[in-house]
């Protein structure tokens, strides 16, 4: 008796909540909403930090909450709350209805929720399969020890985080979905110092839906990579500024496409009128050597998902095919306001954000050239082996730091340089990507935008940009 009372009056994870969810949706539709969506979340996260040879931080966290979104016409109201009782959810619906000032008598029809699509069933065991705090601490300590390769390394850090998110999504179009998402990342960082010289090195690795991934992670290889990067850059000179051809390395080199072009292909940018590509569908926007893809289906990739945060299975979207713009990345609001069909890209950081059109695994497809072909084709330029972060301004200009760069002279890599920044605009740079390598590789990252920080993958093969502004000293 007590159990059934709880079920009817509060969301209970792992149980059937259909009656309660339908009641909430009926309530919103009855008050005049065109569309009602309920997103409910339960999280169980932990992170561990190792510094030098000690664990210095272990941070578990857990929480739960709901985001209620109401549409009326093209307007939407969004309310988030930690109160998952029937009373709390109905109060949130009322608040959203009141915000939208809905007073008309027109009523949409709600025929109840469809059959439950439960993607979580095979994933319930994940929480018991992920490494324990003790296990991951041991692994991190071994990793930071591996970074201690000479006395120039003055700071060594290893970090791990695990996010387990259980979601229930229900909406007035009948969508009724449950899922469990697991994301794990591990990162290594060093600072090297010698007299007045300083450099740093860092790498981050990540996966989704692979609870055992870091048990078998090759920490020695990762540590060697970070160490070598910091040593190569320790005595590097500052790069001279100017216009020059550049070769961008694969993996995280793809961050430039993600930031400078990918965001401009999200329907939120069309809604704002801030993308130069708004009316360019089926027009050439890039060099014919460029094909670009956004998808959420690569197994284990950091941006993959079984279902997006609006209950749609992700699709593989070819954004640019041989330089021609083919598709935009769209969510429910994007389809409503711009007409571009949803692509399973409605994503949000957590229940306190409304979903928005966001990238997943986004990359430039591989071409036919080797890395050496690209470098050999340049008489004087820059090789960007490792990229740092960057940003894109409101009018499309981008700016990216080069973490590890080398001067190209007469088709060969020469001395390392630091302080380089790549500056440009997507619509001007995309036609200048003239060669794509055959070594496509992906890298995990976090993307911050209108609906918070979400897990993504960026990627590309080695690519050559014929000319770009390199900032330096």
């Amino acid at each position: 008796m007590l159990s059934s009372q709880i079920k009817s009056n509060e969301i209970v994870f792992g149980s059937c909540n259909k009656d309660l969810l339908e009641e909430i949706i009926f309530y919103g539709i009855g008050l005049g909403a065109d569309f009602v969506e309920i997103f409910i979340e339960n999280t169980d996260n932990s992170s561990v930090l190792a510094e030098e040879d000690f664990i210095t931080s272990v941070s578990p966290s857990f929480g739960r909450g709901a985001g209620i979104r109401i549409f009326k016409g093209k307007k939407d109201g969004f309310v988030s709350t930690n109160d998952l009782t029937k009373h709390g959810l109905m109060r949130s619906v009322s608040q959203a209805i009141e915000m939208l000032d809905i007073t008309d008598n027109k009523r949409e029809v709600f025929n109840g929720l469809n059959k439950h699509r439960d993607y979580s069933l095979p994933k319930k065991k994940w929480i018991n399969e992920v490494p324990s705090i003790h296990e991951i601490s041991e692994k991190l300590l071994v990793s930071t020890k591996s970074l201690k390769k000479n006395n120039k390394i003055i700071t060594r850090k290893g970090s791990y985080s695990r996010n387990l998110q259980e979601v229930i999504i229900a909406s007035s179009d009948g969508t009724y979905v449950s899922d469990i998402r697991l994301h794990q990342t591990v990162g290594l960082n060093v600072i090297a110092s010698d007299a007045q010289y300083r450099s740093s090195g860092s790498r981050r690795f990540g996966s989704s839906g692979m609870p055992n991934e870091f048990r078998f992670w090759d920490h020695e290889k990762a540590a060697n990579d970070v160490f070598e990067s910091s040593m190569n850059m320790l005595y590097a000179d500052y790069v001279d500024a100017g216009q020059m051809p550049v070769v961008l390395a694969n993996k995280f080199g793809g961050v430039i496409f993600h930031e400078a072009c990918g965001h401009l292909l999200e329907t939120t940018q069309i809604e704002r009128g801030t993308t130069p590509f708004e009316n360019k569908l089926n027009e050439k926007i890039a060099h014919e050597s460029v094909t670009a893809i956004d998808e959420g289906i690569s197994e284990g990739s950091f941006g993959s998902l079984s279902v997006d945060d609006e209950g749609m299975e992700p699709e593989k979207s070819v954004l640019i095919k041989d330089g021609i713009l083919k598709k935009f990345i769209s969510d429910r609001a994007g389809e409503l306001r711009t007409g571009h069909k949803r692509t399973g890209s409605g994503r949000r950081q957590n229940y306190s954000f409304a979903a928005a059109s966001r990238m997943r695994n986004t990359y430039i497809a591989k071409g036919e050239f080797s890395k050496e072909d690209l470098i050999n084709s340049i008489s004087e330029g820059l090789y960007c082996k490792s990229m740092g972060g960057g940003s894109v301004g409101a009018t499309g200009q981008f700016n990216f730091a080069v973490e590890e760069g080398y001067i190209i002279k007469n088709g060969k890599l020469t001395n390392p340089v630091k302080g380089a920044t790549l500056i440009g605009e997507a619509k001007e740079v995309m036609p200048k990507i003239s060669m794509c390598g055959n070594d496509l590789a992906l890298a995990p990252g976090f993307c911050g935008s209108i609906s918070g920080s979400v897990n993504v993958t960026v990627g590309q093969p080695h690519i050559k940009v014929d000319s770009i502004t390199v900032g330096g000293r």
């Binding site: 909450g65 109201g77 309310v79 915000m99 300083r198 801030t274 940003s391 920044t421 330096g472």
Partner: protein, 450 residues
């Protein structure tokens, strides 16, 4: 539950779990926000949030922590349990204790109580602001980034030693970023942000005017030649740089090996004798002020640079103990307690005879670059190495004319920048992140397209 009830709940749950030493920080908020698009409501948001962070000390005096949004009775018990488990992994090399100042009196700024304006009022005000901004100039076609929000919140700190402090507050903010377009020219965008304790305190008209003036002033732009230039930093951009390199003043960063300073840096000459920098979280102009930090230590004014020399570091309880001083009210509650500045105040000291006072941004007729706003701080600053390479919005002043710079970055080294300050103007300006006058620096590298 209110904060006293939560404290009682935690205390009772801790007793039942035989946890003798604990503390917690919590925040509870109610927020409203609106965005508009060409007169239509775009997104209307409301949220009720609660976050609770609990630390417990085990029998070996090691600390464990847990954060949760579930403050039900079962949620609190679960959080205490998880924190207790996490304490097995507590840092044995750097002990954490309660702040010795957690029961000292705090100075709470008295502000008039504001009532929520509500979504409808916010929407009406933002719609009006959008219309006015678009009508302010024919080239302004849209305001793609805009928002008006209000937040009402309570923050609490308490511990098992009897410390208990809380305060309630409200804050409102508006931002307007306009986009201007002219034929055969690149679109230009700029904006303005204003804060207040409540919506009624925000000067929306000046936000509209600032956003319009800034955007229009960049319509006629030109590329800049890559070279070294005399630079004038706006108050906002100078504060951005100082905050980006605040690890120089940060004891936590020093212990972590990621600061340009070390334990013995106090007294080191960093800049001209004319430069004073304070951290002053309780400054009357700081809308976001908090009377205590995450460990319950009272917030206070602290001199960071006095007459060009490093004067103090900012501390948490543990860093202060290691440095044999007292906490300064800059801690953030966490498994590893963070340290960060509150509100930077830059001023000209009385020892200012070496300054080139002819350098005044409103009257100087020589060539210089005026940096209005720095962008992409997270990407272009290497705080542990002291270097920066940042895109900026600004102008080139040349031959008595002012030309907006199309797209450029400024690069340099923070120690070089501080050492090469050649003038500190007299008038301080209040920004959203602190107070500063215009600051002039000789010879920084600018990369442009030309």
């Amino acid at each position: 539950m209110n904060s006293i009830e939560i404290t009682t709940q935690i205390s009772e749950a801790a007793d039942s779990l035989n946890l003798k030493k604990w503390d917690y920080g919590a925040s509870f908020s109610n927020d409203h926000s609106v965005q508009v698009d060409k007169g239509e409501a775009k997104q209307l948001k409301a949220s009720q949030k609660q976050i609770l962070t609990i630390r417990v000390w085990n029998e070996s005096n090691l600390v464990g922590i847990t954060t949760t949004s579930d403050i039900s009775e079962s949620g609190i018990k679960k959080a205490l349990n998880q924190a207790n488990i996490a304490s097995d992994f507590g840092n044995k090399n750097e002990r954490t204790e309660f702040s010795p100042l957690a029961k000292d009196p705090i100075e709470v700024k008295v502000t008039k109580k504001r009532n929520p304006a509500g979504i409808k009022k916010l929407l009406t005000l933002l719609r009006e602001a959008e219309v006015k901004l678009i009508e302010s100039h024919e080239s302004i076609k849209s305001v793609p980034y805009n928002g008006l929000s209000e937040s009402f919140f309570e923050r609490v700190y308490a511990n098992s030693d009897g410390a208990f402090r809380s305060y309630t507050k409200s804050q409102a903010a508006i931002y307007l970023y306009a986009r201007a377009e002219e034929k055969n020219k690149k679109p230009r965008s700029s904006g303005s942000v204003k804060l207040g304790y409540g919506v009624e305190d925000i000067d929306i008209e000046s936000c509209i005017k600032d956003a319009s003036d800034k955007t229009i002033s960049h319509l006629n732009y030109s590329s800049i030649k890559t070279d070294k230039y005399l630079i004038c930093f706006s108050p906002e951009s100078f504060l951005t740089i100082i905050n980006a390199f605040s690890s120089m003043f940060n004891a936590r960063s020093i212990l972590d090996g990621v600061s340009l300073s070390n334990k013995n840096s106090i007294g080191e000459k960093l800049s001209t004798e004319a430069l004073n920098i304070y951290d002053d979280g309780l400054h009357e102009k700081n809308i976001s002020s908090s009377p205590f930090d995450g460990e319950g230590t009272p917030t206070k004014r602290l001199c960071l640079i006095n007459k060009g020399r490093l004067e103090n570091f900012i501390h948490s309880e543990s860093t202060a103990r290691i440095f044999k001083t007292i906490p300064t009210g800059h801690a953030g509650l966490g498994s590893k307690v963070s340290v960060s500045p509150d509100w930077i105040v830059v001023e000209k000291s009385k020892e200012n005879s070496d300054l080139k006072t002819s350098l005044d941004h409103s009257s100087y007729e020589g060539e210089f670059v005026y940096i209005e706003e720095l962008n992409a701080i997270h990407a272009g600053v290497k705080a542990s190495q002291g270097s920066f390479s940042l895109p900026f919005d600004g102008w080139l002043y040349k031959n008595g004319k002012k030309i907006s710079i199309e797209s450029a970055t400024v690069a340099g080294d923070i120690k070089y920048l501080l050492k090469n300050i050649v003038n500190i103007e007299s008038n301080q300006e209040v920004t959203t992140s602190g107070i500063s006058p215009h600051i002039w620096v000789d010879e920084l590298s600018i990369t442009g397209d030309a």
